[in-house]
């Protein structure tokens, strides 16, 4: 009698990184989707479009390290190897667990299976085919360096390792090996880059200042929201901040009394901790990659969730991608905390009515649990929103302003009533950081949302939406044909420029649950047209730019009983465009010039180079 495979496989990982030691919840157990695995681990299913393979090849030492077999009885019975910095088997296990977990979160949020990068099918089809990533390779110890990056060229993610410095290295030993693959945040961050590259093929083209910053911000958001799923850490932080999760410092385990230390020289009372328990720690929930930051001598975490304060003009001054991305991250988290405070206000009222203080140092456990539930639920909601906003973004030229509009539209589509006030909170926090909705007429919910497609737009006939398991090859082929024909036949109605062919680089069905519990099926379609232009018409030898316009179409599957259902006529609900306009062309040219990309002709120069981006240079 065959016993079914379990749904999940328990594996252990660091919630943050080794330097947090056994701080409550740092050594966590993750329930990762069960997959058949070969040693590596390498996902056995060669047809899985979201497969990964851990290949522990060290490019600096030019050698492999032994691959772990996660089906080994010793590992299975323990629920995964115990965390250990010195054991490469554990590194491989952790990287596999965290990446698989991240993929799961994205698939839940997106409502479909993800796939990795597809090469752009323009011009050389064979070269494009070679660029496709079917299995994402993960190299946990690829090189010596304080860096980790997603490399489309290497078909995967490379993690560096290095020796910590000799000074200002926080909780690391001077000179100790530090492995970026053991930083949960770094792994989630890099995986996010790979996932986004699979969702939006053109997002890595540097068409404006916000593009690299957006990638960094989005990857940081994914890592930060992940923190709120770690129950033990969440509870601990909740208790040590008295419910104020947005605080940077945690209350230490032991308070300083004022009798701790005296300076004899001046006779002044000095308050310095006597015990390590008196040292207050940083709030791990809102900080990223603490070990990495300390090991590289920054004396703090790499970045934090609330790096940019409201009423800041940073958006006008800051161009460096990480710093600029931090503005977007802070805007999202500001809104998150605003809703958290709003949603928990009643709990606090009840607490205070029961005799609790207005600014409590300690909070009772039941209250902490309820606050955690709220924090966790909201984090899930916000993460989902941020991810879904990608589907509501035009295929090209992402900006912070258009992303704002996409978030608002994504939320409206699911929660038209906005009972929680999320959209308002987001609009305010973005506005306070100078992020304006691109092209919106007024600063209001209905104006900031992308407008619905006109009713006069012809319906798409004969489109097969498949089912939640995805489209078969046959279904894909037919759907591609239907969509290609439709967009080219109606290109001008859709806002495209005449005379330039429209390609459909991707489409996928999305299955979502409406607020009323009913299932909705949409098809999200990218349609793009490209013209090649001289960098400068007066100087053709300066090379060319690929200037692209595109639209994301969101097509709804007709529900049985609705008009059009009998004839399989699907209405287009949204056409979210960035057309081939002179303003966009100028902006792209200026940015290219700003980057110093004139005068060279190879295509890749406009692509973001993640290795440089993450080198911080």
């Amino acid at each position: 009698m065959k016993i079914d495979n379990p749904v999940t496989r328990p594996l252990k990982a660091y919630a943050f990184d080794p330097s947090a030691g056994r701080l409550l919840g740092n050594e966590m157990s993750m329930a990762v989707r069960f997959q058949e695995l070969d040693p590596g681990p390498v996902v056995r299913d060669r047809w899985a479009r979201n497969a990964i393979a851990i290949v522990d090849y060290d490019g600096a030492n030019k050698r492999y390290y032994k691959p772990v077999d996660l089906d080994d009885r010793g590992i299975l019975l323990r629920g995964g190897l115990n965390p250990s910095e010195a054991d490469p088997y554990f590194h491989q296990q952790m990287v596999y667990a965290v990446i698989t977990n991240t993929i799961q979160h994205f698939e839940e949020a997106l409502g479909r299976r993800i796939h990795w990068r597809r090469g752009l099918r323009e011009g050389d089809m064979e070269a494009a085919g070679r660029e496709d990533i079917w299995t994402l390779n993960i190299y946990p110890h690829a090189f010596v360096g304080q860096n980790a990056f997603y490399s489309p060229n290497a078909h995967g993610i490379l993690f560096g390792y290095f020796r910590a410095g000799s000074k200002d290295v926080g909780r690391n030993l001077p000179g100790q090996p530090v492995f970026t693959c053991l930083s949960h945040d770094v792994v989630v961050h890099e995986t996010t880059h790979a996932i986004v590259d699979g969702i939006r093929a053109f997002f890595t083209e540097q068409t404006n200042l916000d593009v690299p910053a957006f990638h960094e911000a989005f990857a940081d958001l994914a890592a930060l929201f992940q923190h709120f799923t770690y129950q033990e850490v969440l509870m601990d932080t909740m208790e040590k901040t008295g419910g104020r999760l947005y605080q940077y410092q945690l209350r230490p385990d032991a308070e300083m009394t004022g009798y701790d230390d005296y300076s004899t020289a001046t006779g002044q009372q000095k308050k310095e901790p006597l015990l390590s328990a008196q040292i207050s720690a940083r709030n791990p929930l809102i900080e990223l990659a603490q070990q990495f930051g300390e090991a590289t001598g920054m004396n703090r975490a790499l970045r934090s969730a609330l790096g940019t304060k409201p009423n800041s003009d940073a958006i006008e001054k800051i161009t460096e991608p990480h710093a600029r991305g931090s503005i977007l991250v802070a805007a999202v988290f500001d809104a998150y905390f605003a809703i958290y405070l709003k949603r928990t206000a009643d709990l606090w009222r009840i607490f205070r009515a029961g005799g609790g203080s207005a600014n409590p140092v300690d909070i009772p456990r039941p209250l902490a649990l309820r606050l955690c539930d709220e924090a966790r639920g909201l984090a899930r909601l916000f993460f989902r929103l941020c991810v879904r906003a990608l589907d509501y973004s035009a295929p090209v030229d992402i900006t912070f302003g258009s992303y704002l509009r996409s978030i608002v539209t994504a939320d409206f589509d699911l929660h038209p009533e906005d009972e929680m006030g999320i959209r308002d909170a987001i609009m305010q926090s973005f506005r306070l950081r100078g992020i304006m909705p691109e092209g919106a007429g007024f600063f209001s919910d209905d104006s900031i949302r992308w407008p619905r497609a006109p009713e006069s737009l012809p319906k798409v006939v004969g489109l097969d939406f498949g089912d939640p398991n995805g489209l078969t090859w046959g279904q894909k082929g037919k759907a591609a044909e239907v969509l290609r024909t439709y967009v080219n036949k109606n290109s001008e109605l859709l806002g495209f420029s005449a005379g330039v062919p429209v390609l459909v680089p991707s489409f996928h069905p999305v299955f979502r649950i409406n607020a009323d519990g009913s299932l909705r099926t949409d098809m999200v379609v990218e349609a793009v047209q490209t013209v090649e232009k001289d960098f400068n018409e007066a100087a053709p030898k300066f090379g060319k730019i690929k200037f692209r316009g595109g639209a994301t179409l969101i097509i709804s599957k007709p529900v049985v009983g609705e008009p059009g259902a009998e004839n399989n006529e699907s209405a287009i609900r949204y056409v979210i465009s960035k057309n081939l306009t002179p303003e966009r062309e100028v902006r792209q040219r200026r940015f290219g010039e700003h980057l110093g990309l004139a005068g060279m002709s190879e295509r890749s120069r406009f692509q973001i180079n993640f290795s440089m981006l993450h080198g911080g240079i």
Partner: protein, 488 residues
């Protein structure tokens, strides 16, 4: 020393480009009632990249002779010295030919705002300016990187290029660094002089206080030039900004990994786990290498290994480039007007510097500004003379600027082929497409296109140089023994 004087008519403005190799050495002569008055704009040279054992092409060894010639021409009297920025190829001459410059009488010195030593708002306390702290950090960082690379002794084109850029920033010879284990003994450049010595001379050795300018400042033009009708507008650099300082600090942290504490400069690699963990490719399932089967059906593992080995980004190269750009963008950009002629000297200003005055801001402030500001467009569209930025590199004359330039003007480009960049990765300096584009708008003369005939400094023109000087639409070019003159 016999000199052949060019046929300057009385009352003629003249711009002279001395041929020193890869560097700028310009002398502008303004006719006044008190006779011709001279403005010196930069005096430097750098040798550029060189393979081990090969001769670097940038420094053709003529700068001292050129300075001597200039001394005689001017009677060792200069109304004004303009120092655009502190790269070796713009300032080394002041210390390399110190014995000549020491006797000079100078009316005024203009330098970039980034050379300010003390905070102008804290004159009483003499507080160090942000700019001078920045310069110290930058030079220290460049020296650190240069020492490390010089000690490592690597021999590849990329290292050569990085060392060349760093040498330009510090003005110190890396052979010297390598020989002394990282601490420059004489702190000198090859051929003598150093950036530090030149700066000291310019700031304190001339018995006058330099003026430090940024865009928007009203320059104090020496009276004799002002009375003759010369005006000047400062177009760059942008004012100093704490953001730049932060960027430099970030860069310093990132390059820290390359400047590390390891004794052996060559071995950054180490075995993190020990020999018991070593394995072979065959211990992995075939599926692990499937992604590389399209690359190499026969040996996907080898294809993967090669890719990973080559994948580590060249952060050091980019860091050096950024350092280089920091300095270039500090360039003082001056527009002179004389008798209705507009003469633009852009130093080595790169994109950020140009953007500030062309668009009224950088992309984050004015991302969709397609219109160059009216004033800037007016300047560019009606030029009479353009000193080609950064020896003809692509990014030192933005494409938009080239497109806007007009007026059938004349250009001069002081450069030396083969000193920096390469045609293979389309980074050669001077850049072919840029000069072609400029050539459509102006008549250009390159310094390496004419031979030096001055006794003792004879140097041929580079291969393929045109035989004759071009004829500009207005004014004329004339050849001298070690220079080219332009009379607007």
């Amino acid at each position: 020393m016999a000199t052949k004087k060019t046929t300057a008519k009385k009352g003629e403005l003249r711009i002279r480009m001395y041929r020193v190799g890869f560097g700028d050495f310009f002398l502008m002569t303004v006719p006044t009632d008190d006779g011709p008055q001279h403005i010196l704009i930069d005096c430097g040279v750098t040798k550029g990249k060189a393979k081990k054992g090969e001769h670097a092409k940038g420094d053709i060894g003529t700068i001292k002779a050129a300075v001597a010639h200039m001394a005689e021409e001017t009677g060792k009297k200069l109304a004004l010295i303009i120092v655009t920025h502190r790269h070796e190829d713009h300032i080394i001459g002041f210390s390399r030919a110190a014995e000549i410059f020491n006797d000079f009488k100078v009316g005024a010195v203009w330098m970039s705002i980034w050379e300010t030593e003390y905070d102008p708002d804290e004159k009483k306390e003499k507080k160090k300016s942000l700019a001078s702290e920045f310069q110290e950090e930058l030079t220290a960082l460049a020296l650190g990187m240069q020492s490390r690379l010089a000690l490592a002794g690597k021999d590849d084109p990329e290292t050569d290029e990085i060392l060349a850029m760093l040498r330009n920033a510090t003005g110190i010879d890396d052979a010297d660094l390598a020989a002394t284990g990282g601490t420059p003994s004489a702190k000198k450049g090859t051929g003598g002089g150093s950036n530090a010595a030149s700066l000291t001379f310019l700031k304190t050795g001339l018995n006058l206080e330099p003026e430090y300018y940024a865009k928007g400042d009203k320059p104090k033009i020496p009276k004799v030039l002002k009375d003759a009708g010369l005006t000047a507008e400062i177009l760059g650099p942008p004012p100093t900004d704490a953001v730049d300082f932060m960027k430099l600090m970030d860069l310093k942290k990132q390059t820290g990994q390359f400047l590390g504490e390891a004794e052996d400069a060559n071995s950054q690699t180490f075995d993190p786990f020990g020999t018991s963990w070593h394995a072979e490719a065959r211990e992995y399932p075939a599926a692990a290498f499937r992604e590389f089967e399209r690359e190499s059906k026969k040996s996907p593992e080898a294809a993967m290994e090669a890719t990973i080995q080559a994948a580590q980004p060249s952060l050091l190269f980019t860091a050096a480039k950024i350092l280089d750009d920091f300095l270039n963008n500090q360039s003082l950009v001056v527009l002179f007007t004389f008798a209705g002629k507009k003469l633009l000297f852009a130093g080595d200003a790169q994109g950020g510097n140009w953007e500030y005055w062309m668009y009224g801001g950088t992309p984050e402030k004015a991302p969709s500004a397609d219109n160059i500001e009216k004033d800037s467009a007016a300047i560019l569209s009606r030029l009479d003379f353009y000193k080609v930025g950064h020896h003809g590199s692509t990014n030192a004359t933005p494409v938009t600027a080239v497109a806007t330039m007009g007026g059938d003007f004349a250009s001069m480009c002081s450069t030396q082929d083969g000193a920096f960049g390469s045609v293979d990765n389309q980074s050669e300096v001077p850049r072919g497409p840029l000069l072609d584009a400029l050539g459509k708008k102006s008549k250009i003369v390159r310094s390496d296109h004419f031979a030096i005939t001055l006794a003792g400094s004879e140097t041929p023109a580079i291969e393929g140089a045109p035989k004759k000087l071009p004829t500009p639409k207005r004014g004329r070019f004339e050849r001298g023994p070690i220079y080219i003159d332009y009379f607007p």
